[in-house]
Symmetry: D2
Subunit: 338 residues, 4 copies
């Protein structure tokens, strides 16, 4: 009963197989290999466009920070939710990679930015005023850090507002598949068609070892050379890139990433039902593979005693995360322990 | 006949097996897993000491830059050879990770720092003089970028000189095994016993997918907390760390890393013999898995026409790199083409 | 009727005289001059202690950023009010000088941090948790950006709370004199006796050309060498330092700085009375030389038409700043225009 | 007999007078004042063009670093002489302001870059190769750190070579006037007409308190907004800018800066004659206000005993600097002591 994190799960067997397949013969280094090249048609199919460039890292923090550093100069700011992973859980990586840029924090229930908060921040943004740090980018997270989702229309609205003020739009999609499924959106609708310029497309939490794509769409492709330079400079241009690429190939082929996200979402749905059925309140809607439940301390202790792993969360609730690998039996066991 | 780079080689099958072994069950994230913990006794055996801390990244550039950033503040400098990988091939990673520190470049044949150059730099080092940037660390590379080796006694001498002036000592050991074998040194003698404080212990070029250990010895262990913070902040604390650790385990168990380095060295020796036998001059002694040969342009062209891959090198020679996976037949084919 | 800023005022004639006095003969460069040295007894008298080191810059932004960079590493954060000058008006200088540190923003009326907000931030501070950026320093501003003052007891309380959690305490005293006078505190009571480690002691707004002292008290003196290095590196070690020092000397001799602050405070008091007398509400208590008044737009327009200069302020009020040079007649003229 | 540095000299009386003149009435802050605006026609006359933007700081280090940070990204390098002030005497300011850019050091006699060294560096520059750090700018110093001058034709040649490879050209003119006089060049011929994009135009060493202009010519004017942002962020946008501007006005009016540079050059010429007359060798041609003489230790000691101040210099000689304020009698006294 390990609900601590979807990063505690192993990789899916097909990911391991792809690694083994890639592990033969000599290949060019630093992303010049045939496996990396083979991702293009798969990504074109997944995103219904050919107008993108892509890079890979083994770290979601790196992908976010590299993406933002290309969009926001050291003298600028990024708008994000005050509970965003880039603010809370990346130890200042955006500030480091951008050379001292700022995050400007916006409020909103369930880690979704309030429209009013966004509009106020955009209205106050004045790049011509030298004393203040202007925003150059908006960063959204979908699935959010509270397990809620923005619908594609929400992303499109926010992206439009941001772009009217000249900002770039970044989407942290560490759990993109989970959000796509619950909102019944296509990857294209949620990203470039909604106005997203740069996507951190995470596959690690979904079921890889460590594989996070960065996709630059349309006009953002002008940043591709800079992205590679920054990747190199920060140690995110691994010599044997094919082994990251192999993971992406496994996940993209036959839509494995969505299949695995669906499994995780299903478990979370069952888990949410278990909490509600037992009379406990959820802190946020369950739009993906995370459930935040308000539990009395003794209940939490009882679950832990029964072997369940999960974290207390700011705001007084507890976080339970399901992965592709969470057994249905674990949900039943937890429900029983409740 | 691919002599382009040892990073073009695949991983050794036992590395893949270790990855498969690690890929089961739930594990704590971010280095808290059992595989990472299991490396300690293996490292203790390899380095004949328990007085160290360790971290891992998937990138040699990251390992070097993280190590140096812990040893050198943003207002300081690192002494290194002018052909050092950290100067030539890491796109300013040390400067980026340290927040604007400098590399001070020293000369010497075959990418080994001249003793006189080192002594002159140390004599001129004046941390009390606010206008100049003082050196805080000496970084050596062994095997060097020209395929030559420092003997353990050389490292010990240079480390002593550096430490007399208060500098830390870093060793870039991207090809450490290759140097240990040719100098018939133990890992302990070449590193902490010689006065090395921090070691970048590379296993990728030796035969892993992407696995680079950072070892902090003795007094440098005071930097371990900072190292982890910097790793986190730069995207080098992967969530599923066990998959990097598994590679290290495979390489350390039964001394596989030295076995593979020995294979690569053997091929390089044969390759050197082939060049010499054919009447060509070598640019540097062959102390590891790299051979630098002066070849007339038509000879180089002939080899390329025969299917050999290798790079021209600054100074007018050509670089040929062997790996654990270089077939003896490739050497014979090259010799025939010569 | 220029109430735009106290930085719009000229320097006091005695400051100019001191500059002329300093302008003879040869002097050592970079702060080694006799004028800089002559400040020590004056500062000892002003602060009733000899346990400090000092540096000077011509810029308040630089003084704050240099001070904070010595207290907070690139991987840490500084707690400050969300309306603090370091957050709002310094274009990311703290982030730049610290190499990517963060500001963590706290709330409170009138730009004074709420005790509850501070306690909550301190309670949540966990330097051992690698994912989050821990606070290393608390930065207070006195006089605050809303013209209110912390009493010395407030500063002492907040400093004690911060220090219990291992934080350093910085005080932005760009308008220190104004706050000392309204709270009837000594400079010592408001700073080192209250637990302030580093003080940005501003004299520019008070009546110099450009002269901002940085004082390191007690334990913070261990940072003095680093402070000078950072000053040099950022262009804040001017060759002819004596001309900044001469300004400080003029301001410190015979307590000119407090005399001038008293003048400015007196004008602000009269101005506040004028607004209240005319039936307008003030946004904040007037504890120094700044008055924030709620005015109907037509009244603001009328004042501007009468020749008054002042700025609209976030929150819907208008800011009026008095300086040592504000004529009493200007207050009368504004009152008449009201 | 103080030959330690031209920064040990006081400011010229007309600079002080200009400061007094500027010290009346209210003025807009942060460079919006009338004194700053009044510099434009003076600069237009001095540089025979209107196609420039300008900013001021009180520090030559800041001016150089701000200029270079606008020309070279954090991922790039600047070519300069290995004895350049930006490398030797600014404690890593270029690296700090650029966010981790590199200086690539070139050789040449007398601190003038060798043409061959420049051509080799330019030939090797490959911005498309992600592993190496490409140069984005060439920085020349005139008068050089060894007191030699580039002729305008030299600057024009080097600028042309650099621009053919896409580099920007920066000129560190901390002692520009001294070089213009000895080479009988106009300011225009030595700067924008020669292809210089950005000039650090120093007036402090010439006779101001602390006044260093940054001039962006032609195409470099596109960087003006960024320059101001970086100046603000680094504490180089002083609130009462008019007091820096007043210094520039005094120096530019009636060509005072060239008059003072001529005085300093004249003294240096006499000093050089004194050394040669006494049978001592000079290390470099004397093209400005600095003399580098090889002296036996006992002679140096005798001069010091006679009250002369000067510094030993790398390379085994001694540096003697004259300023506008060096009395002719000091030269005679030194000659007598020789």
């Amino acid at each position: 009963m390990n609900f601590a994190s979807d990063t505690s799960a192993p990789a899916h067997p097909r990911v391991l197989e792809a690694l083994a397949d890639a592990n033969c013969g000599m290949e060019a280094s630093y992303g010049g290999d045939s496996v990396t090249a083979s991702l293009r048609p798969l990504l074109e199919a997944a995103f219904e466009t050919a107008d993108f460039d892509y890079w890979m890292t083994a770290s979601g923090t790196a992908s976010n920070a590299l993406a933002l550093a290309c969009l926001c100069p050291s003298t600028g700011a990024v708008l994000c939710h005050e509970e965003a992973h880039i603010e809370r859980d990346e130890r200042g990586a955006p500030e480091f990679f951008s050379g001292g840029g700022k995050l400007r924090l916006l409020k909103g229930f369930g880690a979704r930015i309030d429209r009013e908060a966004l509009e106020a921040a955009l209205a106050a943004n004045n790049p011509a005023f030298v004393h203040e740090t202007p925003a150059h980018a908006l960063s959204l997270t979908n699935l959010t850090e509270c397990g809620t989702a923005y619908r594609a229309a929400d992303v499109a609205l926010y992206a439009r507002l941001a772009k009217e003020k000249g900002l770039w739009v970044h989407l942290d999609g560490a759990r993109l598949g989970n959000a796509l499924l619950s909102t019944r959106s296509s990857a294209a609708d949620m990203t470039w068609r909604a106005g997203v310029d740069v996507l951190s497309f995470g596959l690690t939490k979904t079921g890889a070892f460590g594989c996070e794509l960065i996709l630059l769409f349309g006009r953002a492709r002008t940043k591709f050379a800079e992205l590679k330079v920054r990747a190199k400079r920060s140690g995110h241009m691994p010599a044997k890139m094919r082994f990251i690429a192999a993971q992406a190939r496994a996940m993209l082929e036959d839509g494995l990433w969505l299949e695995l996200a669906a499994e995780a979402n299903a478990r979370s749905g069952e888990l949410a039902d278990a909490f509600i059925g037992a009379g406990f309140e959820l802190a946020y809607p369950v739009d993906g593979n995370e459930v935040f439940a308000y539990l009395p301390e003794e209940v939490a202790a009882r679950l832990q005693a029964a072997g369940a792993k999960f974290y207390p969360w700011p705001g007084g609730c507890y976080r339970f995360v399901c992965s592709w690998n969470t057994p249905a039996a674990d949900i039943e066991a937890l429900a029983a322990a409740l």
